[in-house]
């Protein structure tokens, strides 16, 4: 399970947690999130702008 971060506002999409409000239940893979899905916090970046968060 990976995490992806919005490079504008820092919002993190965590595949393990999903994002229920946006219709992505826990475990939803990043590949299943639509390409034009906008960051739910700032809306000025889309999925394809997100960067993978490397594990510590």
């Amino acid at each position: 399970m990976a995490k992806y971060q919005c490079d504008n506002c820092g919002f993190v999409y965590d595949e393990a947690e999903g994002f229920a409000k946006e219709g992505f239940p826990p475990g939803t893979a990043w590949s299943r999130v639509p390409d034009d899905w906008a960051c739910p916090d700032c809306a000025v970046r889309e999925k394809i702008d997100f960067e993978r968060v490397e594990d510590e």
Partner: protein
């Protein structure tokens, strides 16, 4: 000059820190009217908040110098986390609700002649219009609490879908032909107003419909944030009607229509004629400093929580108002938003002042501007020789 950019976080002090309290003057204006009329017996003083917005703010902008003070980046985390700045925004909401109740009561029970009652409703409408700016600041924040307060602030003016559309629609599509809330060169305010009002409503509904479809639901659910926000208005307006009777209805409608029209005239001047170019991939370029009209006129900036530092707001929508920066390369309006509103109401004067600024911004190449389709050919012909 940005004199503070070299300072450390410890040495930075916000020169506007206590001036931000002036934002709270706005919802108290109707109380001021009430006291002034009580003291003098002059019914014309019911219009005091209107005079404040259209007269006093532009005059003070004209008189008082601009302010280009930017916080240094190291000071921003402390500045953003200082809860003082949040609380003075939150306090706007109960004061606005109190003014709403007082004004509705005076409108119905005050024994006013028709034009005095109109003054009361329009004056509260001015406060409701400015409350959308308060909701705007809160709606961009990440916490559920502030987002809930944003919807609450939009309840009196019955414009709750703004919370949905502005954040997820306008910010995504700003300065493109797809955005109903970005005005086009050659488009008068009166052409823009119905396009933005109905276009934003449609966009807000569509955004929630799309989100809810991913949840396997239709749009007619209490999870629809438009419906949540509208229901707050239904409850509030319903309570006023039960308490004051049907005579409260004209009050509610006048303050709402005038209030959201005040918001939309500000929308009109924020991006007039500016457009993001398409990149090779077919996406629009990112929103940059060059895609918003800015102003450093300090009086309107204080009353609108730095809304006029609009380029930074669009680049960083979640940044709190006290931390927004002036960008020297951003297009500047000749006056603060308060003064520019007056010009927007008078399309020939607006065009005389603004069209040449759009032309200059694009170095004479209007094919790169956001043009009103019915005026496109005429504008290109008229300004082609300056290219």
């Amino acid at each position: 000059m940005h004199s503070t950019t070299m300072a450390s976080s410890h040495s930075y002090s916000d020169s506007k820190r206590y001036w931000w309290l002036l934002g709270l003057v706005v919802p108290t204006l109707p109380f001021g009217s009430y006291l002034l009329v009580e003291a003098t017996g002059w019914g014309v003083l019911w219009f005091w908040p209107i005079v404040f917005v259209y007269g006093l703010l532009p005059a003070l902008d004209w008189y008082i110098a601009t302010d280009q003070d930017n916080p240094p980046e190291v000071a921003v985390p402390d500045l953003e986390n200082d809860r003082y700045y949040r609380w003075i925004v939150y306090l706007f909401i109960p004061l606005h609700f109190a003014a709403f109740v007082l004004s509705g009561w005076v409108f119905v029970q005050g024994g006013l002649v028709w034009w005095e009652a109109l003054g009361v409703a329009l004056s509260l409408g001015a406060v409701s219009g400015l409350s959308i700016n308060t909701a705007h600041e809160l709606g961009h924040k990440k916490g559920d609490g502030e987002r809930w307060l944003a919807k609450l602030a939009l309840a009196p003016v019955f414009y709750g879908h703004f919370f949905v559309e502005h954040n997820r629609g306008h910010h995504k599509n700003v300065a493109t032909p797809d955005d109903p809330a970005s005005s086009r060169m050659g488009e008068s305010f009166y052409a823009f107003l119905p396009r933005t009002v109905f276009g934003s409503l449609r966009s807000a509904w569509q955004l929630e419909k799309t989100r809810l479809a991913r949840l396997g639901k239709g749009p007619w659910t209490l999870q629809n944030e438009n419906i949540q926000a509208w229901l707050m208005s239904v409850v509030l307006w319903g309570a006023m009607l039960v308490w004051l009777g049907w005579l409260a209805l004209p009050f509610l409608l006048i303050q709402s229509v005038y209030g959201f029209s005040l918001l939309e005239v500000v929308n009109y001047l924020e991006h007039y004629g500016l457009v993001r170019q398409k990149t090779e991939s077919g996406r629009y370029e990112r929103c940059g400093p060059e895609h918003s009209w800015n102003s450093n006129h300090v009086v309107t900036n204080v009353f609108l929580y730095h809304l006029q530092r609009h380029s930074d707001h669009h680049a960083n929508p979640t940044r709190r108002y006290q931390a927004l920066r002036d960008f020297e390369e951003a297009p500047q309006l000749p006056s603060g938003y308060a003064g520019m509103i007056l010009l927007a109401y008078l399309p020939p004067i607006w065009r005389r002042v603004m069209d040449r600024r759009v032309v200059e911004h694009y170095n004479g190449d209007l094919t790169r501007a956001n043009l009103h389709p019915p005026k496109r050919a005429a504008l290109l012909a008229r300004y082609s020789q300056t290219a």
